[in-house]
């Protein structure tokens, strides 16, 4: 880029190399973690295609999503009929367990009463929804980002679930079962690892949404427009009788709070279960919930992590790390670096987020262009989605892909950075990338 060195450019009137991802992507992603579900986007056809493409590119998996194409006449005369038609089509043709009608900014701008139309359809065909969930929500992309779209969708699912399960939900609690609400920054691999950890203490766990069984790449034969994995609806209905909720990520906290307020299920917030402290906290929590000590392998994994921290510590010493990620993700990444000790951590988040208060002052709302400016100040490591790869390279800053989307990489959805083992892997990855600078450019 032909920017004059050291000259501060004028304030940017608009984002360059934006970091924001449409909320609808988050919503569609969340629904991939529920078995036999189908999100239906209400928007222009291109909207759906881009959502589908970006998710498929990141996960290398087929993505379930349908579309109510809005045409000019819908805009002019109102689209409630086409919504009815589409719902009719989807329910009778595909027989999904969960249908979510998601409004985009186009819906909002034309003032289409999506929720009203969904409600009307539901009242008309109540008999069809005894064992199904129908929900509608607006996820306009002019506000929020992937993280908020994802969290809102989970919240909406929970709300509908509680309402439809009625009295049943206030039944006696099952002490040996807990709920897990993973945030959008956890990979399917992370969710799998957490499920394993929890299960190894003899605790049953319901995960919402469960991407680990849906986007990890199992080869189920046959075509279906519905999701091929995730938590089944009838299992999900058991969620109100769980004894405890583990929620991961600030953005997901409202979901856990809903369960606490409505059903009295206590919850515990983690930022990512990445790093020594949070992994310790999780193990301790599981020990207390289960009343047993858990498998020995975690003691070994902890030792391994400690050794790994000592082995890699000099790679972190005195470094400046810059990262552009969604709020919760950035918190989780930051806490790992904080445990090791680096000189400076700075970065950007795509939108205003409650996570910001957990982060050091150098973090603000911004885009990849802002990140580039931060990296110019002796950046030693650049963490962002794949759109940052080339910019990082031109700056001679070692680059590590993270966040969304990450493409041109195999296996990134399966990478694990939770628990002792995941943290150790992550630290090695960070350290290896950090020292690559010396190899390449000195």
């Amino acid at each position: 880029m032909a920017r004059v060195n050291n000259e501060i450019p004028p304030a940017k009137p608009w984002p360059i190399n934006p970091l924001r991802v449409s909320q609808a992507v988050g919503g569609v992603l969340a629904l991939q973690g529920i078995y036999r579900s189908v999100p239906v986007l209400h928007g222009a056809e291109g909207c759906t295609e881009s959502v589908k493409q970006s998710l498929a590119r990141h996960f290398r998996e087929p993505i379930s999503v349908q579309n109510i194409a809005i045409h000019e006449q819908n805009l002019i005369f109102g689209g409630s009929q086409s919504i009815h038609d589409m719902l009719q089509h989807v329910t009778s043709e595909y027989q999904p367990d969960v249908i979510a009608l998601i409004g985009t900014s186009l819906t909002e701008v034309v003032g289409e009463d999506l929720l009203g139309a969904v409600e009307a359809y539901y009242k008309l065909h109540k008999e069809r929804f005894h064992d199904r969930l129908l929900l509608g929500l607006y996820l306009p992309d002019y506000e929020g980002s992937l993280e908020s779209g994802y969290a809102q969708t989970v919240y909406c699912v929970l709300q509908k679930l509680l309402r439809s399960s009625g009295r049943r939900s206030r039944s006696r609690k099952r002490t040996s079962r807990i709920n897990l609400l993973p945030g959008s920054h956890l990979t399917p691999g992370d969710v799998m690892e957490l499920k394993e950890m929890i299960a190894s203490f003899g605790i049953e766990v319901i995960v919402l949404p469960d991407l680990s069984s849906s986007l990890t790449g199992h080869l189920m034969t046959g075509y279906t427009p519905l999701t091929r994995g995730g938590v089944p609806l009838d299992y999900l209905r058991e969620l109100p009788s769980s004894a405890y909720t583990i929620v991961i990520g600030r953005s997901m906290e409202p979901c856990a709070r809903l369960l606490e307020e409505e059903l009295g299920i206590p919850y515990r917030l983690f930022h990512g279960v990445t790093g020594l402290c949070e992994s310790d906290e999780l193990i301790l929590l599981l020990r207390r919930l289960s009343g047993n000590e858990g498998p020995n392998k975690y003691r070994w994994q902890r030792q391994f992590l400690l050794d790994c921290m000592l082995d890699t510590r000099s790679a972190f010493r005195g470094r400046h790390v810059v990262a552009a990620l969604e709020g919760d993700h950035l918190v989780s990444v930051f806490q790992t670096f904080k445990e090791m000790g680096i000189r400076r951590f700075s970065g950007v988040v795509p939108v205003q987020s409650p996570a910001l208060e957990l982060l050091p002052p150098g973090i603000s709302v911004g885009d990849l262009d802002d990140l580039e400016r931060l990296a110019m100040d002796e950046g030693d490591l650049w963490i962002s989605n794949s759109y940052g790869a080339e910019r990082a390279e031109q700056q001679h800053t070692p680059y590590l892909p993270a966040g969304f989307p990450v493409f041109n990489r195999f296996g990134s959805p399966a990478t694990t950075s939770v628990g002792y083992r995941g943290t150790a892997e992550l630290l090695c990855l960070y350290a290896n990338t950090l020292i690559s600078k010396e190899r390449m450019y000195l």
Binding site: L276, C277, D280, E281, I283, L284, R287, R288, E293, R299, R302, L306, D307, M309, L310, D311, R313, S314, F316, R317, G318, K338, E339, M340, G341, R343, I435, E438, R439, L442
Partner: protein
């Protein structure tokens, strides 16, 4: 030792294992040349040992000469080929003749002696076959040409020192054997002065260069202002030029002032910190003056592998209250660390895992990849590294109780 000569090919004439010790040992941060990442080994088999590997060696040299066309090929003798009395010299002469490329045998079979001995052998070879083989090219000479002669792992220090010297108008022709090309080595005899930097093994080379080319030499170090002052003053004394002398002294005054100001402000937290030094070889003494200058208190020094020479150098540089632990076992070092309430251990080489497995804060000199600690800039870097290390939360993290030992972590989050 010769590995930093990165455009040359290095061929190990021995069994497959012999290469492992040196391949890729070139420190990170060295520039690297076209052949620096290649490891050539004869990979001799049982049959080769019985029937002799000379023919195979000749073929290998031919292959390297044709495929890679290096300016020079070093052939290293190993224990096995020494025992089977292979005539390395003859093969090299023959190869040189046939392929028109200098082929230099290095007689450094492992049992001859320690690494120091190997270095000396390498120096001999350089003196006999390389240095002085380039003609005089007048336009490339300046009145203040010097060579830097260092020890193993000298490249990064060498680069820093070269940068320093060039800022007072002194030119470094070649770094033996730091980061340099063969061509630079060949014209090393054109220098007016050799500076030996913290090395014993290369004194022989310096002496022989003095005797043959009349190049005087002196020994010096560039770690810490006192040592820099001493070295640069010697340099200035040699050239006997008032203008240069003034320039050097002005430079030192300015840099010292800057550094001292920073030591008082930025690096103030280091003052009075108690450290234990547990390093090998020259590293056991070259950093002492600098550490003292930064205000650190060296409470104990482990002198494991040090000869008398190193010991007296250590003694010259420490204060009275430092405990010297001779023939130190790890247990003794750790005890000294605890009894004398040290806060940081500085280690190198084989000692690196002593503090690591005890979860004690430490800094590994070898691992400080991003450059040496020579010169004023190096002093700052060491200070910053020490400061950063002491501040790293990882030291308290690793002492945290495991979740099986506690019932609650309190509100530690």
């Amino acid at each position: 030792m010769l590995l930093p000569i990165t455009d040359a090919a290095h061929l190990v004439h021995g069994t497959p294992g012999c290469l492992q010790n040196s391949w890729g040992m070139l420190e990170a941060g060295a520039t690297g040349g076209p052949l620096s990442s290649h490891g050539f080994s004869m990979g001799l088999t049982e049959m080769d040992i019985i029937h002799g590997g000379q023919k195979k060696l000749l073929e290998a040299i031919r292959y390297i000469a044709i495929t890679y066309q290096p300016p020079c090929i070093f052939v290293y003798e190993t224990c096995i080929t020494f025992l089977t009395s292979e005539d390395l010299e003859a093969v090299c002469v023959q190869a040189e003749d046939e392929y028109k490329v200098p082929v230099i045998p290095i007689h450094n079979a492992g049992f001859i002696g320690s690494g120091n001995m190997g270095n000396r052998q390498a120096g001999e070879a350089l003196f006999n076959k390389v240095i002085g083989t380039a003609g005089i090219r007048g336009e490339q000479q300046t009145p203040y040409d010097v060579n830097l002669i260092g020890d193993f792992r000298f490249s990064r220090e060498g680069r820093k020192i070269e940068a320093m010297l060039s800022s007072v108008g002194i030119r470094v022709i070649s770094q033996i054997a730091g980061d340099c090309s063969l061509e630079e080595l060949r014209s090393a005899h054109l220098a007016k002065l050799n500076i030996l930097i913290c090395t014993r093994s290369m004194v022989t080379l310096a002496r022989r260069m003095r005797d043959s080319f009349g190049i005087p030499y002196f020994e010096g170090s560039f770690c810490g202002t006192r040592e820099i002052r001493f070295s640069l003053s010697q340099l200035s004394y040699h050239f006997q030029n008032a203008e240069l002398d003034q320039r050097i002294h002005r430079y030192m005054r300015r840099e010292e002032e800057l550094l001292h100001k920073e030591i008082l402000r930025r690096y103030k937290p280091l003052k009075g910190k108690r450290i234990v030094l547990f390093t090998d070889g020259i590293e056991s003494w070259i950093y002492i003056p600098l550490l003292v200058e930064l205000g650190l208190r060296i409470v104990a020094i482990g002198t494991n592998q040090n000869g008398q020479e190193d010991l007296s150098r250590i003694k010259e540089r420490i204060r009275e209250d430092t405990v010297l632990i001779h023939r130190s076992s790890e247990a003794q070092i750790l005890e000294a660390y605890r009894v004398r309430k040290a806060e940081l251990m500085i280690v190198s080489g084989r000692n690196a895992f002593v503090p690591l497995k005890e979860k004690l804060p430490f800094i590994n000199i070898d691992e400080a990849l991003h450059g040496g600690y020579a010169g004023y800039e190096g002093a700052r870097r060491l200070a910053q590294d020490l400061l950063d290390t002491l501040e790293q939360p990882v030291w308290s993290m690793i002492r945290r109780s495991s979740p099986w030992e506690v019932e609650s972590y309190g509100s530690s989050e």
